[in-house]
Symmetry: C2
Subunit: 446 residues, 2 copies
């Protein structure tokens, strides 16, 4: 992509309404524009990251055997009366009437609708297990939306629902979700720690939140310093292997890690050697729940068992805040100059800066680097504007592409360009071909 | 994908509420479930097609140089007061208040919001031209939603907006949209004819609708029989080449093709030789508009010209009904047994039917065909259920995968499987390897 043909409205000034880094940087980097309180338009650069995150979530959910579908944003109030949550939900649920005076709402979550879909079509244990999920826009009418996309009203979320015959099966689904979430966050370059949590309005006994450590996090967190060191890494996971999946969950949840909601000072001090005790702040980027038959009983979602009995189906629900993740990613990856995208989620793989636009040799070198990267299936952003070098560097630093190739007449005279890491700031001179080869290697390794 | 692990709730009975083939078949094939009048959940098979269509739309828009972003579903009423459309729009606009009593609406279209985004960031001709588009859920509170996703209330639509300095530039954007739409529909296996249309509430002089010929279409159409024969085909299009793009538009719009709204009997009879005159019905699947400065003047979206004047920006808007397209595709591609997907949009590339589930040689042959197809980057659906052959065939015919590989013990004894075309019904025996190779070839050619 040539920047002269893109739409990247970066701001020079720090927007006064933004209190935290991610909000400020998303506005400055031209990723979002506020449309109403807590409601954002995703400008091209922001939308690109949102799509990349959604793609990773899809891939990891499908790898775990979960099936994508899509429910509408608007729901009928009737379904929520069946579960008893219509009255219970409070003013965060956006309610209204359509032209025929039917009561409707903008879905804040989908337990009721998915349970209705399930009961409409499934009545036998033979069709179990099944886990259905979607990535869809949701709305919660927060009284004080703030922190940009971190606490917005209209937000993009992955929500998945498992349907199982037995508690054991449902707990395997719970574990599958934990492992698939760990892999999802790792691919995004995030360390998200599963922490025992409260179930809140969803209900249920077993629930973990996933928290990204960040000073601006809304939750206080207490954990063993060895927990953030745990990595799923490259190990092959067979999601049908209950023992392996449960083993990974055990590995990630045995050491102490809790939010302020479930923190127990005595357990913390008993279990964690003093030198490993850590107190910090975290951003919630996902939560998984096992809640058994709470919704299936209320809504009559029953299946016949192999011995002919009818039992309510065992369920859980599992969410990843996709739009919120972008905020968390930036909170965890930025410096005073701007964003620093991990390679797994960067909107463009590499930036190309032309130091002397209009100089025919420099233009030709940039064109050929751009073409070589595109031919390799990569997505470069070429700053071909007629701007000062300093302004081009500032834009690249602000939008945070992990790699930059700088091309100028002086280097070209020696047959070199400069390859710079956004994270370390370190530059290396090499031939254009070597720079392209290096970028290809970096992304091939992901 | 193994069908035993998928969620494909096909219905044996014809649903009584469905009046047209596409609605009936989408319900029967387990593609959609109605949640409220005109509001559907997209079950896994339906969602898969929706994603394929959205992907094609994205690819063709990006190829034309248009930039994707994403606007929220909910909008503030204030913007619509600026353009004067808040009061004009009527009861099809879903309006409501949030918890702070602010007037909001569920966007039925986005001219106001995109014009606001533009005026916020762009003030110079130097940043032109730019075309921004999104694929997003929209809502129109139809008084009588019907025909399934063809006239739903919550619907998925691509809407794009061009911003240009001059009328000539804007007309080039208009032409770019026409050509990119023609290519989009062709890739989907559809013949969609651009017809001169009325501009309706969007406004403007130049507008074409794209209509797919189908007996169940809502519009009466009058056209020269040579028009549906026109094909864009494989020709290379350079979207920056105004002459080429305009030439293609001329090629597709010179012969007579109009809807009942703009039909002129005299012109029809004068221009079209009697043997070429056709009257039929069509389904609208897209519309493009050039409306000049209607919104930019009302909303103060002005840019400075090279000679320092300030002029309102020239605009147009351009839509493809993505969810509705699925209905149109099925209306144009079905028989009494079910859907017949064109290869470009099929949810799975090929079905595998195991005639004797549990027979170890047959199971092994199916597994190995499945694995070979997946390894080739294809997406097969393997019916591994313990069902009668007749029931498996009926399901495959209903859901309409274009190709089926049938594997049974008798064929395997002769080292053959059967490859069947859904469209022609013709079968051929060949080795499993040859069947896989044939499927690979078919999709590689797309």
């Amino acid at each position: 992509m040539r920047l002269s043909r893109y739409f990247l409205p970066v701001l020079k000034e720090n927007p006064s309404e933004a209190q935290i880094a991610s909000h400020r940087l998303m506005l400055r980097a031209g990723m979002i524009k506020q449309e109403s309180a807590g409601i954002y338009a995703w400008l091209p650069l922001g939308y690109k990251v949102l799509r990349r995150l959604a793609q990773i979530v899809h891939e990891e959910q499908e790898r775990a055997g979960h099936i994508p579908l899509l429910m509408p944003t608007l729901q009928s109030a009737d379904l929520w009366r069946e579960s008893g949550r219509y009255d219970a939900y409070g003013p965060e649920m956006l309610r209204f009437k359509d032209r025929h005076d039917r009561e409707m709402l903008y879905g804040p979550t989908n337990e009721e609708m998915i349970t209705d879909i399930f009961r409409t079509y499934v009545s036998s244990y033979k069709d179990l297990p099944v886990t259905l999920y979607q990535i869809q826009w949701k709305f919660r009418d927060e009284i004080r939306p703030r922190f940009g996309v971190m606490r917005g009203r209209e937000f993009y979320m992955k929500d998945g629902y498992n349907f199982d015959l037995t508690r054991e099966d449902a707990l395997h689904a719970y574990n599958r979700h934990m492992v698939s979430y760990l892999r999802t966050y790792e691919r995004m370059g995030l360390t998200a720690i599963p922490m025992r949590a409260d179930s809140g309005p969803i209900g249920g006994d077993n629930t973990h939140e996933f928290l990204v450590l960040a000073q601006t996090g809304e939750s206080e967190v207490f954990y063993d310093a060895r927990v953030p060191e745990l990595k799923l890494g490259e190990r092959a996971v067979d999601y049908d292997d209950r023992e392996q999946v449960a083993g990974i969950c055990k590995e990630f949840t045995t050491l102490y890690a809790r939010t302020d909601e479930t923190h127990d000072v005595k357990v913390f001090e008993d279990q964690v050697p003093e030198e490993h005790r850590r107190v910090g702040r975290g951003i919630e980027v996902g939560q998984i729940f096992y809640f058994g038959t709470k919704y299936s009983e209320a809504m009559g979602a029953v299946v016949t068992t192999p011995d002919g009995r009818k039992v309510p189906v065992e369920m859980g629900s599992h969410g990843i805040g996709v739009s919120r993740l972008i905020g968390a990613l930036i909170e965890a990856n930025h410096d005073e100059k701007g964003i620093i995208w991990p390679e797994g989620v960067t909107p463009f793989h590499v930036g190309i800066v032309n130091l002397k636009q209009g100089d025919s040799a420099t233009d030709a070198a940039c064109d050929s680097i751009h073409a070589a990267l595109v031919a390799a299936g990569l997505d470069p952003l070429y700053d071909d504007r007629d701007e000062r070098a300093g302004s081009k560097f500032a834009t690249m630093d602000l939008i945070g592409l992990p790699w930059r190739i700088t091309v100028g007449p002086r280097g070209l005279a020696n047959n070199v360009v400069e390859l710079t890491s956004r994270r370390t700031g370190k530059s290396e001179e090499m031939s254009a071909a070597a720079a392209v080869a290096r970028i290809k290697e970096i992304y091939a390794a992901l």
